[in-house]
C-alpha cells in the first residue's frame, strides 16, 4: 500500500521533485524494502521467499512477515470494548455475526437433504458456534453471513461481520488489514484435475492449461507471484476467476478449464463431490487457517485464541470431534491438518 503510494507519487512529480524524493527514499530504503517486497509478492509468508526477506531486516515493519501464523495475541478471557459491544446487542440482535461460506462441502454448507431446515453446517460452522457459546453463552446465538472469497477482508473492515470463519489463510498481506487468531487448521495449495487428465501436480504438465481460481484467494495470489518469479509453467492461463472456489468445480466439469488450484482442504471437499476428479500431487505451499477479526479488536482476538486452545484440548466435542465428523471422510490424516502448538508473538 505504502509502496504503491510512493511509486504513484514518484510518477506525479517531475525533475527536481523526484530527485528530492529519491533522497528521502534512499534514507528510508532499508525500512521500507521488506514491506514493498511483501506486498508485491502477496503470497503466504511461510515460503522461503518470505523468510529470507523478513530475516534480512530488523525493522519494525518486517515483523509482519515473520511467520504470519504466529502474529497473534496471547489468549485471555478478559472482556474488552469489542466483546462488550457484542454483548450489549438487544433482543433478537444479541448474536455474534460471523462471515462464513455456504458452498464449501463439509466446511460451511447447507445440506439439501438435512430435512428441510436451512441450517449451515460443517467444520467452520462448529467453530463459530463454539465461539458464540463462549462469548454469549448460547451456541445458537450466531448470525451467519455468506461472503464471497474476495469480500472477506472488506466485510470485516466495514463492520458487516464481527469475524470471518471461512477457511481463511493467515498471510502477511491480510495481516495489514485484519487481525488473525492462532491457526486452527493446516493446509496447502493443491492442484485438482480430472482423473483422466495428464496433469500430475504443480509442475510442467500444467503448461498451456487453463487454471481456475477464486478471486481474492491465496491460490490466485500464489500463482500470480510464481508467474512473476518465472516458476509457473509456460502458457498457463489464469484468466478464469470465480467468486467461490466451488464455482471452479462447475467450470472444470463443464470443460471450461483444465485444472483447479485451491487449498488442499477445499480441493478435497470438491473431489468428494465428484468421483471423476482427484487431487494431483502434493500440496506445494504450507498455510494455516485462522479466524479473522477487526485489526483493533484485541480483546476479541485474545478471547478467540482462548476458545481455540480449549477447542483443541477438548477431546469429546472439540477439534478432533469436528474433524472426525466432517473431514475424516475426505481427508486422510488428522495429524497433517492439526497445526503445531500456537505461538503468540504479537506484542500489542
Amino acid at each position: 500500500m505504502r509502496a504503491g503510494r510512493l511509486r504513484a507519487g514518484l510518477k506525479g512529480w517531475g525533475g527536481v521533485g523526484a530527485m528530492a524524493l529519491a533522497c528521502v527514499l534512499a534514507v528510508l530504503a532499508s525500512l521500507l524494502l521488506p514491506v514493498i517486497h511483501s506486498s508485491g509478492g502477496g503470497g503466504a509468508g511461510t515460503d522461503d521467499d518470505g523468510h529470507g526477506v523478513a530475516h534480512g531486516s530488523q525493522a519494525r515493519a518486517a515483523q509482519a512477515c515473520t511467520d504470519p501464523e504466529k502474529q497473534t495475541l496471547a489468549p485471555s478471557g478478559d472482556d474488552g470494548p469489542t466483546i462488550d459491544e457484542i454483548r450489549s446487542r438487544e433482543g433478537e440482535k444479541r448474536k455474534l455475526i460471523v462471515g462464513v461460506d455456504q458452498n464449501s462441502y463439509r466446511w460451511g454448507y447447507r445440506d439439501p437433504n438435512s430435512g428441510g431446515d436451512a441450517e449451515l453446517e460443517g467444520f467452520d460452522i462448529d467453530l463459530a458456534h463454539r465461539i458464540a457459546e463462549d462469548i454469549l453463552g448460547d451456541a445458537d446465538a450466531v448470525q451467519f453471513k455468506a461472503i464471497p472469497t474476495d469480500q472477506r477482508v472488506p466485510a470485516i473492515q466495514d463492520g458487516r461481520v464481527d469475524m470471518v470463519v471461512r477457511t481463511m489463510t493467515i498471510n502477511c498481506d491480510r495481516l495489514e488489514d485484519v487481525a488473525f487468531s492462532a491457526p486452527y487448521f493446516r493446509t496447502g495449495q493443491q492442484v485438482l484435475a480430472p482423473k483422466s487428465s495428464k496433469i500430475t501436480g504443480y509442475d510442467g504438465t500444467l503448461a498451456g492449461k487453463e487454471i481456475c481460481t477464486a478471486a481474492g484467494s491465496t491460490a490466485l495470489s500464489t500463482l500470480e507471484r510464481d508467474r512473476e518469479d518465472g516458476t509457473l509453467p509456460e502458457g498457463v492461463d489464469l484468466r478464469t476467476t470465480v467468486p467461490n472456489q466451488l464455482d471452479c468445480l462447475v467450470r472444470l466439469q463443464l470443460g471450461e478449464v483444465d485444472a483447479v488450484v485451491t487449498d488442499g482442504a477445499l480441493a478435497a471437499s470438491q473431489a468428494a463431490q465428484d468421483p471423476t476428479v482427484e487431487l494431483k500431487g502434493d500440496a506445494f505451499t504450507t498455510e494455516y487457517y485462522g479466524v479473522a477479526m477487526k485489526k483493533d479488536a484485541d480483546d476479541l482476538v485474545r478471547r478467540v485464541n482462548r476458545v481455540l486452545e480449549q477447542w483443541r484440548a477438548d477431546r469429546t466435542g472439540g477439534w478432533q470431534h469436528s474433524y472426525d465428523r466432517w473431514l475424516s471422510e475426505t481427508m486422510d490424516d488428522a495429524a497433517k491438518s492439526l497445526p503445531p502448538t500456537p505461538q503468540y508473538l504479537r506484542g500489542s
Partner: protein, 486 residues
Amino acid sequence: MTQPPKGSAAPPPGTGASGPPAVPPRSAPVPGQRSGGVPAAPPRSAPPRRRTAFAEGVDRLRAAAVTEPGRLRIIGALLAALVVAFGAVTAWQMNERTAAADDVLTRSQPLSSAAAGIYRSLAEANTAASSGFLAGGQETEDSRTRYDNGIRAAAEGLVTAAANSEPKSPAAQTIAELNRLLPEYKGLVERARTYNRQGFPVGGAYLRYANEKMQKEMLPAAEDLYTKENQRLSADYGDAKPYPWAAIALGVVLLAALAWAQHRHYRRTNRVLNHGLVAATAASAIVLLWLVVGHGVARSNLTDSYEHGVRSLNALNEARIASLKARGNENLTLVSRGAETTKVDGKTYDAYDLAFGKNMDALGKALAEAGRLADDAAGEQPVGTANGNMAEWKKRHSSAREQDENGNYQQALDLVIGGDGATVECFDGVDAALATALDHEKAEFEQAAGDGLDAMGYLPQGAGVLAGLGAAGALIGIGRRLSEYR
C-alpha cells in the same frame, strides 16, 4: 391484394395512348405549324420514324382539338383516365393501410405479446428454480410445476416467434440465440438438481451459474426481442394511420374536373344533366366520401386500440415483468445470504435486496400507469387488486428482511416461501391480477383494432369497382354527346 393497383394501372397507358400526347401537342404544334411539319423533319433527324409517328399523332390531335367532337373525345379520355387513376391510387393507398392495420391486429401485436410472454416464462422458470433450491431438500411439486411450465411456455413462445420472424432479421437472430441458450440453461438446472439430490453443495454452484446465464444472457436477449417486436408494432401503426393524401387530392381534382365538364356541357347544350357524367360524379363522390370517412373512423379506432390497448398492455407487461424480477431477487437475497453486495454512496447494500427495491418501484410505476390508462371498471379492478397485493408484499417483505437481518434465517425463509402469510401469496396475487388485466386489455385492443380494420374493409375493392363504374359513366356520358354529331 396488390393486384388492383397494377390491374387498374394498365388502363391509363391504354387511354394514355391518346391521353399523354394530348399534353405536348399544345406546345408542339406551334413549331410544327411554322416549319411546315413534314418538310422540317427530314433535315433535322435521319431516322425520323418515331418522330413522324409522334408528329402524325400530334397533327391528328391538333386537328381534332379544333372540332367539337374531337374536343369531346379528349375531354372524355381525360375524365376516364382521372377516374381510373383516382380509383387506382385509392385502392393502392388503402390497401397499404389495410394491410398494415391487419398486421397490427394479427401479427405485430401478437408477436409483441409473445415476446413479453417469452421473457415472463424465462423469468418464471428461473425464479421457480431458485425457490426450489431455497426450500432445501427436494423441491416441491409446486416449484417443479412452475419451472416446467415456464420452460415449456418459453419454448412454445420461441417457436411462434421464430415462425413469424423474417429470416435473417435481427429478431430472428435473437430468437436463434435464445433457442441456443435455453437447452444450455436447462442442462445446468438439471445438473443442479442432481447434485442437490446427492446433498452436494456444487448443486448450488450450478444453480448460480444457471442464474447468471439467465440474468446476463437470456433475459437481456428476451428483452431485446420484446423491444424489437414493439418497434415493429409501432412501425405498423405508423403505416396504417397516415391520411391517404394522394388519393384525397386526386379525388378533389377529379370532382372539380367533372364539375367543369358538366358546366361546359350545360353552357354548350343548355341541358342540365348528362346521365353518364352524373353517374361518374356520384361514383367518385362516394369513393371520396368512403375514403375520408372510412379511414377517419379506422384511424380513430386504431388510435383507440393504441391508447387503450397497446399502451395498457405495455404497462401491464412491464408490471408483470417487474414483479417477476422482484420475486426472483427476493429469493436470491436468501439464496446468496448476503454474498453479493454493492456500494451506493459509500454504503454497502445487499445487491439482490437493492435490486428488489428497484423492481418494486418499477412495479409501482407500471401499475400506476396501467391504472391511469384503464378506461373502464373491468380494467381498473384487477389493477387495483394488484396494487393491494403489492402493498401487502412490501409489508411482508420488510418483516422477512428484519428476521433475516436478525439472523433468523429459517423464519425469514418461512416468510418468503412458506405457506400462510408468506410473500409468495402476494406475488401470486399480483401475477394473477395482472394476468386478468392483460386478458381484458387484449380483448379491448382486439375489439378496437378489429373495428378499425373493418372500417377500412372492402375499401380498396370498392374503390376499384366504383372507379370502373365512374370511368364507364364518363365515357358513356361523353359518348352520348358525341353521337349527336353523327
